[in-house]
Amino acid sequence: MGRLLGDPEVWDDSPARPRPAARGLAGLATGAVAGLLLAFAVVPRPHPPPPEVRLPPAAEAPKLRVENQVLYSASLGGGPLLVTRSGRLEQVNADGTDRRVLAQDVRARAVVGPDRAGVLVALDSGVVTRVEANGASRQLGPANFLADGLAGAGRQLLACPDPAGQPADGGLLLDAVSGRARPVKLGCPVAWAARAGVFAGAGGPWTRLQGFRRAAAVPRGGSVLVGRPGKPPRVLLEAKRLRRLAGRGAVVDGLALSPDAELVAVSAGRPGGRWQVLVLDRDGRQVTSIPLAGGHRPAWIGWSDRQGSTTLAVAAVDRRGNLATAELAAREGSGYVLAWQPEGGSSRVLASGVPMVAADGFAWSSDGDSVAISSPAGILIVKQADVVYTTASPVTGTLLAWPSGAAP
């Protein structure tokens, strides 16, 4: 045995002092550990819950790109777009800025203007309506006249009748200020040369044809008339020649006059057959014929108004099968826009494929450099300079026109 350390004289044999707090804490800890262990041993284990799958945010379908440079460039030269959206007539820059409501409760299908004073004329549910700069509107022409087409420049307007319940060739020349109307014997479609004061419209013989509207036969003209206000229109393309150029049974479905009225574009064909755009000079001589892709029909033809030169744009949309009578905005089919230049006769495809699905509005910019195409997916702007530049625009709505100036 070894010797105990320390001095025996100072050993403390007294019992340890009771420390209730320390003992309590130790007891608590011991109890907790024992309880924990007991619980781990005794408590039954539940089935593991199914894993929680956290999906990432839904990916968006690919979209056409917004090219700000192209948008800016197009906005500079083109002025604001006129669009109709949710029953409102609006003007907005191509880049989405400066949106302004021009009129409420106007379901416009076509517009003429606005002029310098901000006044425009709209075809609102068949009624030719003058819309003032302050949004006030009034009907032009006879109260019982329902129009299916409207063209014009300045205060001169040409409205063609809705053939339901009206003579197909009961067109009206209207004064946009006074509202005075004079009958003119032509029907839809109609066109107006912006700088020449010349109009064009379809003439007889009128044939009722299926295939343009769902479950309805609509009259279509078989000849083309041109004229000036105050003079009776003359025949530019007679029915026999139209059929010779565009095929048996061909009718007129679209018209466009170049700004100087030197050239007339006529979309001609027959539902279910081949369609083409005939380009004629002011004397009716054929300049060219633009055949469309099989099953396609023109939805719009328009001349650009560019100083020194002009270009014809043809928007052709797929009308095969069920697409034949579908409304443009509901047409789930392809199409393309072709730009044809009279000088040299060359052409380029400006847009095709996806942007043409349900495309329902088309317009040249006022500087004649760009074409805008609206569809439920948005507005596409194609600027044709040396290279074709394409951009999506943040603007939505159905495009009506792309005039030069904004309403004040």
């Binding site: 929680e52 790109r65 099989g294 996806v354």
Partner: protein
């Protein structure tokens, strides 16, 4: 522990009297017993409750699902380096075969997994373009391959279809390194041979150049061979495609060539001159293995189709340069070019058009597109193409077109390749972009591991 006062030990002056000790320490000692007992009980309850919570309540495991978008890898650390998108969705989508500049052939899953080197063929080594570029221009008017692949591999990952450096269509074998030229000496080919899906039938276009003053195709001929190299047919004009089942091939129709007359020669401002040729393709016919022919595209249709994009075109310059058969052999995509156009196609008029040809009815319709680029049929029907606006579009059957992606003008895309089941499309360029055909919002891309050769089914499928 006891309540008795201590009986022994050292007693010193400072120690209190025993009676006082008992009185003063009793409560404390009782407390020292009671408190630990209560504490143990409390601890047991608290520990038990905590243990029950820990054991009885398991939190659900959070798992990140497949990313649907084109950004982010869905949280999964899988796939090749630099991958963007839900690469795990490409698992089982087949094997991608590609080559590298050293002539090695690689394979990997479309998801970048299971990479291995299959072999090497000297002819696959990246070389400079063959000399005589100006001569090649003349040949491109005869036939322009449908895409920019250097070589194509069969599903067995052994057969290699390629064009040799001296311009001959050839078929090689990776396993033994053999190479067989498919055109006679003195003949060149505009591209690799076309072939049936299983390689049992091969078709080759051959040409010879000449011309007094300007280079021109003076002779064009095609050979159809079986897998062993035995000639099945020798045909005038160029061959463009062989049906997947090997039962037919799309070839030039010499009768249409005679009808249209020779393509005039011309010197150009913007490209090398070419001489006149009566060997270029003005129409197409289908060669059948039983030796019969079926006309599918006449020159009148070629002109009509082209006029939808260029109404005033001079028909003398229109030729077919590319034709691809659809998977069911009922349709073909045909590229028609205006050889007399002397313009920069980016800034000038349209100089080519794509046509969709219904082979049974013999009807052709144009598919207008500015600067049509690459195109490919999908096994499920429909087809895809790239266009001048930097877009790739899928045109399903009987449905409106669908945008696959935009902004690819600078991506150097040289091929569109569908997956074996047609669910995906691969845009091969500097990077590989895989796009789900039925849901283009699902995209996967990663840096190109090499030059695409083929996308073939998984072995055994």
């Amino acid at each position: 522990m006891s309540d008795r006062p201590p009986t022994g030990g050292v007693v010193n002056q400072e120690q209190p009297s025993p009676g006082l000790l008992v009185e003063r320490g009793r409560g404390r000692r009782r407390l020292a017993v009671l408190v630990p007992v209560v504490a143990v009980v409390c601890g047991l309850v608290a520990g038990g409750l905590a243990g029950e919570r820990a054991v009885g309540r398991q939190r659900a495991t959070a798992v990140t699902g497949p990313a649907g978008g084109g950004t982010g890898s869905g949280g999964a650390e899988v796939g090749p380096a630099g991958v963007v998108g839900p690469v795990e969705q490409l698992r089982g989508a087949g094997r991608v075969l590609f080559t590298d500049p050293q002539g090695r052939v690689h394979t990997q899953g479309a998801d970048g997994d299971r990479h291995r080197v299959l072999g090497q063929l000297g002819e696959l080594t990246t070389r400079r373009a063959p000399s005589g570029f100006e001569l090649e221009v003349a040949a491109h008017l005869l036939s322009d391959p449908p895409d920019g692949r250097l070589a194509e591999l069969g599903p067995d990952a052994d057969l290699v279809y390629l064009r040799t450096a001296d311009g001959a269509a050839a078929v090689g074998r990776l396993q033994d390194g053999s190479l067989r030229r498919l055109v006679p000496a003195g003949w060149r080919s505009p591209g690799p041979p076309r072939h049936a899906a299983d390689g049992s039938v091969l078709g080759v276009c051959g040409y010879r150049l000449g011309g007094d003053r300007l280079p021109a195709v003076t002779d064009a001929r095609s050979w159809v061979l079986d897998g062993s190299g035995k000639r099945l047919a020798t045909l005038p004009g160029c061959l463009y495609d062989v049906a997947a089942d090997g039962a037919s091939a799309l070839v030039a129709d010499p009768a249409e060539g005679r009808r249209a007359g020779p393509v005039p020669g011309r010197e150009f401002l913007r490209r090398p001159p070419v001489g006149a040729s009566d060997q270029l393709t003005r129409g197409l016919r289908l060669w059948r293995r039983d030796g019969s022919f079926h006309p599918v595209l006449g020159f009148a249709d070629v002109v009509r189709v082209f006029r939808t994009v260029q109404p005033g075109v001079d028909p003398r310059g229109l030729v077919v340069v590319t034709a691809v058969l659809g998977p069911d052999g009922r349709q073909a995509l045909v590229r028609i070019v205006d050889t007399l156009a002397d313009v920069d196609p980016r800034t000038g008029r349209e100089v080519e058009v794509l046509a969709v040809v219904d082979l049974q009815r013999g009807r052709a319709e144009s598919a207008p597109e500015h600067l049509p680029g690459l195109f490919a049929f999908l096994p499920t029907g429909g087809w895809a193409l790239t266009g001048g606006a930097g877009t790739a579009t899928y045109l399903p059957r009987d449905r409106p077109p669908q945008l696959l992606c935009s902004g690819i003008a600078g991506d150097g895309v040289y091929a569109i390749e569908p997956s074996p089941d047609g669910a995906w499309l691969l845009l091969a360029g500097a990077s590989w972009r895989f796009i789900r055909a039925d849901d283009p919002s699902v995209q996967v891309s990663y840096p190109a591991p090499g030059r695409l050769a083929s996308w073939v089914p998984e072995p055994g499928r």
